[in-house]
């Protein structure tokens, strides 16, 4: 596969620059970053995006009508903006976040949701207050992270960034604004500032090859120094601290991967404008800027694993730009009979579906191998911290999956009878090629992948 119009500087040019140095940047540390090539023939999605939005849904507008357990998908009002992608979608009802329920589970219902959504666990004890706290971080690894590191980093190890996490105005106490966890108590906080995210992703974008060479050589010498430093230190410290240094060393190896892995087909976009992140009215523009960056990173092979949070759980965002000047969380507590509030909540959810449609449009516009588009080969999960805001139910979370790879049999609305979302997370891991996974999150809540999902 030749480097296409997305290329700014070629890999050859990079290598030429590097060869002038004494560094040996040969395989295996120099790896191609794109999904092109060896794995092109393998079936199934190759990338994953987990999307979060807050405060539950309006079930009657999210779930299609009908009671058949397996029916063709006719999107309801909330999913109507995604009509064009209906054939690639699965809408699931009856899949509950049971893991948040049980004796001695710290945290309020809003607080527990984001920590459970992708982990199949719940929050541990801790001192984060607010939203029914106190509680700590989630007690399990999240599914996006598992995808990145499973089978010796089979997915995450091949790209410049093993994962990239984004969030739009995800504020408040920490557990409310994280859905991705490396492990128990180890959150992957989202990047919230488009300018900062751009700097992280395209740190070397505007360098000449000589400058780039200098930077890489310098970084490499520091990383070697640090690895040596850790090895020397490890022998001298308390046994109980050694595991911490191991984690530190693993992180250093990740930095090395970032350094030595090309994202050669990533064309540097125009830098995003600086936006006041504290200003609620910037919610749409921050969201669009971050969506653009994520879509690019996924499309050009900079990363294959991402998550995206639309605000924090318990979101206090106002939506004056769609005629809903009220606060989301407050509005979500209105009773079922409150038609005015219900209409406003539908509007908020429709707006988020529109933003996801915008993401899909971007991903669908980029061709991938085998006549597929990037969207086709990207598994997307859209979830929420609650089923419904006004009763804080953990049942019937509004799950939506998008998969155009053919792994799942899509274009359907499936109604399950009380499945734990742990099984959904197992299904996602299988879709990404990790069919050895039989449990995820709390083992006692797992019975295997959701039945009837695959083609």
């Amino acid at each position: 596969m030749s480097l296409d119009s997305r290329t700014t500087f070629s890999r050859r040019r990079l290598l030429r620059g590097m060869s002038a140095t004494a560094m040996a940047l040969t395989s295996p540390i120099w790896r191609t970053a794109t999904a092109f090539g060896a794995d092109a023939a393998a079936p199934g999605p190759k990338r994953f995006i987990g999307i979060f939005s807050a405060n539950g849904t309006i079930p009657s507008a999210f779930f299609p009508t009908g009671t058949a357990p397996d029916a063709p998908l006719t999107p309801g009002r909330i999913l109507a903006p995604l009509q064009a992608y209906a054939s690639k979608l699965l809408v699931l009802k009856g899949v509950h976040m049971t893991s948040t329920i049980g004796a001695n589970k710290p945290g309020g219902p809003h607080m527990k949701g984001p920590g459970a959504m992708l982990t199949g666990g719940s929050l541990g004890p801790g001192s984060f207050s607010g939203a029914g706290g106190p509680a700590g971080w989630a007690d399990h690894r999240s599914v996006d992270h598992e995808m990145a590191v499973h089978s010796n980093n089979a997915i995450g190890g091949s790209t410049k960034f093993p994962f990239l996490h984004f969030g739009v105005r995800a504020t408040g106490q920490e557990p409310l604004r994280v859905i991705s966890y490396r492990d128990k108590d180890m959150p992957n906080l989202p990047m919230q500032d488009p300018v900062q995210a751009y700097k992280t992703m395209f740190a070397t974008a505007n360098l000449s090859s000589a400058q780039l060479q200098q930077l890489l050589t310098g970084r490499k010498s520091i990383i070697d120094f640090l690895k040596d430093d850790i090895t020397r230190l490890k022998g001298r410290i308390a046994i109980s601290d050694r595991a911490r240094l191991d984690a530190h060393l693993t992180g250093i190896a990740g930095l090395e991967q970032q350094l030595t892995t090309s994202a050669a087909s990533c064309k540097t976009p125009v830098a995003p404008t600086s936006l006041n992140l504290m200003d609620e009215n910037n919610y749409p523009s921050i969201g669009k800027a971050l969506t653009d960056l994520m879509a690019l990173a996924i499309s050009c092979g900079m990363t294959r694993i991402s998550t995206f949070m639309w605000a924090n759980a318990d979101s206090w965002q106002h939506y004056p730009f769609i005629g809903v000047p009220e606060e989301h969380h407050f509005t979500s507590h209105a009773g079922d009979g409150d038609a005015v509030a219900t209409e406003k909540l539908i509007k908020i959810n429709v707006w988020h579906a529109q933003q996801i449609a915008y993401l899909f449009d971007k991903l669908a516009a980029v061709p991938d191998t085998g006549g597929k588009t990037i969207l086709d080969n990207t598994l997307v999960l859209w979830g929420n911290e609650l089923g419904v805001g006004n009763n804080h139910t953990y049942k019937d979370i509004p799950w939506m999956i998008c998969d155009g790879s053919g792994y799942f049999k899509t274009g359907r609305y499936l109604q399950f009878k009380d499945q734990n979302h742990n099984n959904l997370l197992i299904s996602l891991l299988h879709a990404m090629g990790f069919e050895d996974v039989t449990q995820f999150g709390y083992p006692e809540l797992c019975s295997g992948p959701l039945p009837g999902l695959t083609a």
Binding site: G130, P187, D229
Partner: protein
């Protein structure tokens, strides 16, 4: 091995090289630590990315600033660059790693990094070396190796440099300075007396003058109020004014007064009726002001109910719901932060308490906790204490009616060691707590956690007892705590490195 907190990192860099503009912005995306910074997740790639960015920023700032370069890594035009770099590694390294850098192989490792950059220029060589040193675990963690000298089966002596770091991070939240490092080098810190001798000047130093106040702030999580959410309809001033910042400022003015002018007694902290206000907070006390700074006010409302930190608006607004007071949060605060009694988390599927509705007081809404047996076991420990705060609304303002009903601020403590009984209002609660040995014991524990950045363990029992004895004989003076703990075994020693328990 303790990771520097964000504040410690920023303070340490400031002391090592000077001001680095925009450095704190590099940490904007990092998570805040738990209470007192005790719980520390492992460092992974996202954090290391932040440390890399921060180190690069510091290094490029230093090498781009002629004055900083002259101070930190001077090199005459005709001097041997590698010799200059060697001097930089040993002098800056001793400060950054908080221990002398003397091992020849270790110094040479640093110079390998320097050589890579020196191929371009001396400045770039220093830039790379400095960046590497600031990413080293020896800088990012406070590492304790200890000495070979065992003082007991499960305790070894720390080196002077390690004790200096304990003192400086414990009291100043930053690295040891020259004077403290010299005390370490001379062996002065090898004895309790030598350590004790550092306390007076360290606490008189500008970095130490706010130590005890910083403790009180972290203990009650003062700055949480700046991120608290309030109902915009009921409290429109919450988001639109400087109220929250003023609440923090008011608390600090009060703490400074108690710790300075009032002699630093715990009893005063809990009971002093002295009120400070500026233009944002004057209306809380029925007065007006145009000042932005904090002055003592004579309240026309609520004055008799005032009781030190217990009635600070910053605390009471944090311990409240967006649209109502929270007897639960407030009772839990007293139980956990002042009595050091941990409560179990709530059971699953707790029904939401009835919504705020006109004509029903908060106290009335929580009646179910008394009548429902599933609730009452735990809530009898919580709510009756919290009810004592009912004279204060969701933003910490004094009130005599709640939703049209007269406030009933009668309360009760059960299950304590020495403060059981009924009381009416916060002022009476404050007096009870101020006379309690359990509260004194709890504050001493909190101080231990603050200064040691860890929880107390069984092995710390004797040290805790010593601290408590000193604290009591000083009539509960908070300013006696630093010296009391600094001379304890827990501070002077650590467990051997082959112990499975840290530290």
């Amino acid at each position: 091995m303790r990771l520097l907190t964000k504040e410690q990192y920023l303070n340490t860099v400031r002391d090592l090289v000077g001001a680095v503009t925009g450095l704190d912005a590099v940490f904007a995306n990092s998570s805040s630590a738990s209470a007192l910074g005790i719980a520390q997740p492992d460092v992974g790639q996202p954090e290391l990315q932040t440390y890399q960015d921060a180190a690069d920023k510091v290094a490029s700032t230093v090498t781009g600033d002629a004055t900083m370069m002259t101070t930190l890594a001077p090199c005459a035009t005709d001097a041997d660059k590698r010799t200059c770099a060697r001097t930089f590694v040993t002098t800056f390294g001793a400060r950054a790693y908080r221990a002398p850098v003397t091992d020849a192989a270790d110094i040479d490792r640093h110079l390998l990094v320097f050589d890579v950059g020196n191929a371009t220029s001396y400045q770039y060589g220093i830039e790379l070396t400095l960046s590497a040193m600031l990413q080293s675990p020896r800088f990012l963690y406070v590492v304790e190796v200890g000495t070979n000298e065992k003082v007991a089966a499960d305790a070894i002596k720390l080196s002077g440099y390690e004790l200096a770091a304990r003192l400086s991070y414990g009291l100043w939240n930053t690295a040891p300075d020259v004077r403290l490092t010299m005390a370490a080098a001379s062996g002065t810190l090898a004895t309790r007396e030598g350590v004790a001798a550092q306390l007076p000047w360290m606490l008189a130093d500008p970095k130490g003058q706010t130590t005890v106040r910083r403790f009180v702030e972290e203990w009650i999580r003062l700055t949480d109020v700046t991120t608290a959410t309030k109902d915009a309809t009921q409290y429109p001033q919450w988001d639109s004014s400087t109220l929250r910042t003023s609440m923090v400022g008011q608390a600090r003015a009060f703490f400074d007064d108690v710790l300075g002018g009032q002699g630093g007694k715990l009893a005063a902290l809990l009971t002093s009726p002295k009120l400070f206000a500026n233009r944002d907070l004057a209306p809380y006390y029925g007065t007006t002001s145009t000042a932005t700074t904090f002055q003592v006010v004579s309240p026309t409302t609520g004055g008799a109910s005032s009781s030190g930190l217990l009635t600070l608006p910053a605390l009471l607004a944090t311990l409240a719901k967006p649209d109502a007071s929270s007897p639960i949060y407030r009772g839990k605060f007293v139980r956990e932060q002042l009595l050091c009694q941990q409560l179990p988390p709530p059971p699953p599927n707790v029904p939401k308490p009835p919504d705020v509705q006109p004509g029903v007081s908060t106290r009335e809404r929580f009646r179910q906790h008394e009548t429902d047996a599933a609730c009452s076991t735990c809530h009898a420990m919580i709510d009756p204490i919290g009810f004592g705060f009912e004279n204060y609304d969701a933003v910490g303002r004094y009130r005599t009616t709640d939703n049209g009903q007269p406030v009933d601020a009668s309360g009760q403590i059960i299950g304590s060691q020495d403060v059981d009984g009924t009381f009416n209002g916060v002022a009476e609660l404050g007096k009870k707590l101020a006379g309690s040995q359990q509260v004194q014991d709890c504050v001493a524990r909190q101080w231990f956690r603050f200064m040691m950045t860890r929880f107390e363990q069984d092995a710390d029992g004797c040290s805790m007892a010593d601290v408590l004895t000193t604290f009591r004989s000083a009539d509960g003076s908070l300013t006696s705590l630093p010296a009391a703990l600094a001379q304890s075994d827990a501070f002077m020693y650590r467990r051997p490195l082959d112990s499975q328990v840290s530290p």
